[in-house]
Symmetry: C2
Subunit: 603 residues, 2 copies
């Protein structure tokens, strides 16, 4: 894959596929035969910025997880035989209490999860794993669990970075990947597709791309939803967490793509309506999305689909002199009313520095040229993306972007950088596993911000991150709107252990909230951000979640143990926050900004 061996010292990166019964096969991302290694310039930068020498890469800092999974009978499942008998009557052989199967649905994909697995910390083993293949099985399971006070969890793609899937109270985990992944209806007239919630991103997209052959459709379609976790995420997970894909600026977030949802709840089946708009009271689709398994299990979902027209894609990349100019241009592009770019990703100065390495621009003659033209390292900012849609639409968006970028002093780097980014867009998580063997952790936190507060959030969150010595913090916006954008923070740092990591994460989360941003743009809340949510929304406002919970799941058996904060005591919340405050009343516009026509943001 174009990987060049180092000229100097090179760490012994793990490039042996882990056996399918090993710990590593669980915590490692994706395809066991695929590896991604940092190239030499990136390795050097990492050492430099993290204050490490080659010594730190001479031996593994933590368990590489090649051993066979075996709990040695230390964590036996607790589940009464009568319950197991009942589940057997529904699932037959599609259930398991094996160590490996229980372990493989225990955690998601935040570094906190991966570190705990490497540390052999088994905080949240389910007692039994069920493999549903029908909505009916799931409804029966939900009803039974509610009646018998058995905690019920759902494992979709397993790419949660918020501890959303973690069965902290044991009980049942529904592993949706194996058998609950079919397309139920393809409706070309309405351009909608109904699927079982466990279908994976690639399976879903494959069916749509092949609609002509598979369904006798007139043309091919696309789902338009491509999160970085795409290859190992499930459609159900996108929906219940309100996820967003890297192409959301054009296609919308999951919440914009959903047409209809069916849930199995303790109160029975809940089916939302399927109209493009309606004025029939509070919107039930919008109530169920974001419930993250706490009201019930999403079983079936109807999604909008789009025409597959990759031939109309126009790729671009531009380099700006600084973050202020770049951000101003991004805002102008979003407010121009010229249509929206599909991928639209703007990196700040620190991320640009890394991106140019990661995407091989440092090997090209561009690098010295940029400096000469006044685009200085650690000041310059990279915008990349591509437009889509009907040919004229795509072209018009591109033309406007080009025009605005030039007006804000940017220089085109052509489509080359975008293509490099595309190559890596789904496989960067592999790089994370490679360096974590040496104790270097990469993780992310992301939030949503209005334009008028963007500079402040960017400045304050980075400042807090950099208070940890030897830390790289890169930031981009990748989901943009006329009223604001997300800010996505990626941090690299050497950590002691999972507890050290969690403390650092809490520090950043606190900074995000204090600076006036939404504590999640598209990762959801899960159990990890839960201690902050009531403070973030307000007490009366958050109370709405509680009455909805009481309605759907009065026995609190659905994803219990703190998901979106529903069953946490004040004491537990305080403890989980590590002493951080729970809210900063940042909702009132006049606290954040107070414009009466005066625009001190732009120019």
């Amino acid at each position: 894959m174009g990987y060049k061996p180092y000229k100097g010292f090179e760490p012994k990166w793990v490039i042996t596929p882990a056996a399918s019964d090993s710990y590593r096969s669980i915590f490692r991302w994706g395809d066991p035969d695929f590896f991604k290694l940092p190239k030499e310039s990136l390795y050097r930068m990492m050492k430099d910025r993290l204050g490490l020498s080659d010594d730190a890469f001479c031996s593994y800092a933590m368990d590489t997880g090649f051993a066979r999974v075996d709990l040695h009978g230390q964590y036996p499942p607790h589940m009464a035989d009568e319950h197991l008998d009942y589940f057997r009557s529904i699932y037959g052989h599609d259930m398991s209490q094996l160590d490996y199967d229980r372990l493989s649905v225990m955690y998601g994909q935040t570094c906190y999860d991966l570190l705990r697995l490497r540390e052999h910390k088994y905080d949240s083993l389910p007692d039994v794993v069920l493999y549903p293949s029908s909505s009916d099985q799931i409804q029966k399971t939900v009803t039974y669990c509610a009646a018998h006070n058995i905690p019920l969890y759902v494992y979709g793609g397993g790419s949660s970075v918020t501890r959303g899937v973690e069965p902290v109270k044991g009980g049942v985990s529904l592993d949706m990947r194996r058998k609950f992944n079919k397309v139920l209806y393809f409706n070309e007239v309405d351009q909608t597709v109904t699927v079982q919630a466990g279908i994976s991103g690639p399976e879903f997209e494959h069916h749509l791309n092949n609609a002509v052959k598979e369904y006798g459709a007139k043309r091919a379609y696309t789902c338009g939803h491509f999160p970085q976790s795409f290859e190992y995420s499930s459609v159900g997970g996108w929906v219940v967490t309100r996820g967003a894909g890297q192409n959301s600026t054009y296609y919308g977030c999951a919440a914009d793509l959903v047409v209809q949802q069916k849930y199995a709840t303790p109160r029975g089946e809940v089916l939302t309506s399927h109209y493009p708009r309606e004025a029939t009271g509070p919107n039930l689709n919008q109530i169920m999305m974001g419930s993250e398994g706490t009201f019930g299990v999403l079983t079936e979902v109807t999604m909008k689909v789009y025409r597959y027209m990759p031939e109309n894609r126009k790729r671009y990349s531009f380099i700006f002199r600084n973050w202020h100019d770049a951000m101003s241009a991004a805002r102008e592009i979003m407010q121009r009313e010229c249509g929206f770019s599909s991928v639209f990703r703007l990196s700040d100065e620190e991320e640009t520095n890394m991106m140019l390495r990661l995407y091989n621009v440092d090997d090209t003659p561009l690098q010295p040229m940029l400096e000469k033209l006044g685009y200085q390292d650690m000041q310059r900012c990279l915008l990349l993306g591509f437009t889509e849609g009907e040919k004229g639409y795509s072209k018009n968006v591109y033309k406007n972007i080009r025009k605005i970028c030039h007006a804000y002093g940017a220089m085109s780097l052509t489509g080359y950088v975008c293509r490099s980014w595309e190559k890596g867009r789904f496989n960067d998580p592999y790089l994370r596993d490679t360096i974590m063997d040496f104790g270097v952790c990469v993780d992310t936190l992301e939030c949503c911000v209005n334009w008028s507060n963007m500079e402040k959030v960017h400045r304050e969150v980075r400042k807090i991150c950099h208070e940890r010595p030897n830390t790289i913090v890169t930031t981009h916006m990748s989901h943009c709107y006329p009223q604001g954008a997300n800010l996505y923070f990626i941090f690299l740092t050497k950590v002691e252990d999972s507890a050290d990591f969690k403390r650092f994460l809490n520090t950043i989360l606190d900074a995000i909230q204090r600076s006036g941003a939404a504590i999640s743009h598209h990762h959801g809340i899960g159990k990890m951000f839960a201690p902050w949510i009531e403070g973030s929304l307000g007490e009366t406002e958050y109370g709405v979640f509680k009455v909805l919970k009481d309605y759907f799941d009065p026995n609190y058996t659905m994803n219990p143990g703190g998901t979106i904060g529903l069953d946490l005591s004040e004491e537990e919340k305080r403890k989980l926050r590590n002493g951080y405050h729970d809210g900063y009343n940042t909702k009132a516009w006049d606290d954040v900004i107070h414009y009466h026509g005066k625009d001190d943001f732009l120019e």
Copy 2:
């Protein structure tokens, strides 16, 4: 205004301005000095289709309402002095118990309301009318009313067609028009504006159009929301009912335009968050919108605004050979991914017949030419609209529409018809008052439909309407999406009285629901459609509304008496439905359609 006196018999249309203290000044639409009369060809068509002769227009069929409002002490307000004293302590002189003031907030604008006023039926007089000027006053009033079990209603623009504003249990009505209409913040960076909920459409738009002068902004803006009731509607009303403007295909419905809302509820102030997107649990903005005053009073709202660029507008109109071709083209336009038209209005055959008269095409040489070219009367369908946005965007949408229309056999009628429509777009309600003096009622019902069910809903609802003898039923879609559109039914018929009208309305509502459409696309539910909503959504699903109600307003003092069905017994619902069924389980896709690639809709 280009009105030509008739050559034959002409009814004595009322063209005398009603005194400002008269009944007519209350039930009549808008400006007392503005009149709209049917031109002769329209009058002839009306007589013909309604089976009426000139005789029916020789004398007024109902009270024209020129008398001074006077209840002769027959309906005295009931309100304890201590309550009045309390309100006086907050409102000073900004309150009233005068007959006129009570009457003027009693009803909205459905024919059922206008007929009842002409019949001097005083079903729902409030006991006191309050004129708030601050959110603080409103919160105090809400808290007090909840504590003392006083029913509380809100009168915004008064253009409700669902009995949404009607104080059926007396008590307090907050009349928002007079003093609660200020712009609070103008934020050009985020392109948002925060207003008091009582501000009217034209006031709001005026501030935005004049932002350069008023706020020192860089450019002018527009709200993008123009319902037919625009001139006499309030921004708060748009939001709490989930309204939509005639330009919604481009700008979105009210629910898409809202950024943040503040409510005064019995549980205290509720402030939603203001981010462009967030993944922080169920969406509170979407829970409060559609609550129609039953959870609390919307006091302040932040709306997105758009750049005002009328110079980029491209007007068009096309005539199709039939409804099937026209609808297929509309769907193709919506699914093309070329951007969206601002106004996009497709009339069916019966509406086209009327539109060509109403917009003066019947006076032009076009009329005979159309017949010759195979566009037959009562088969041909008219599409009109205009595109907006950035110049290249607007042009590209227009080009695609033109191309698709031609591909479906349509002929361009140029921008002329669209301009004619624009002239009448806000003043057609005046015409309604003119003919109602003779007992001829015009009213509307509208719904939302997926493309795959469009032909059926159109056919079945029209069939039911036409079962009433001598009835004109025109239909259009005016809010379109890739997955479907609204269907908007306008019916003209001679009625006996308000009870007769209501029976007919229920018949149509029932047909809408039975055919598988959402019972409201943008008019809301109010008290009139309320008996149908639980059946439409499902029992478990509707239960969500009840728990939200119990949470926000445990004493049921907020817009009580059936609004969105919250405090109706089964017995009351049955009675209000006139014997109609309450639901038809039309939510499941597979009940309505079952496509596996087979597309028998298009071609």
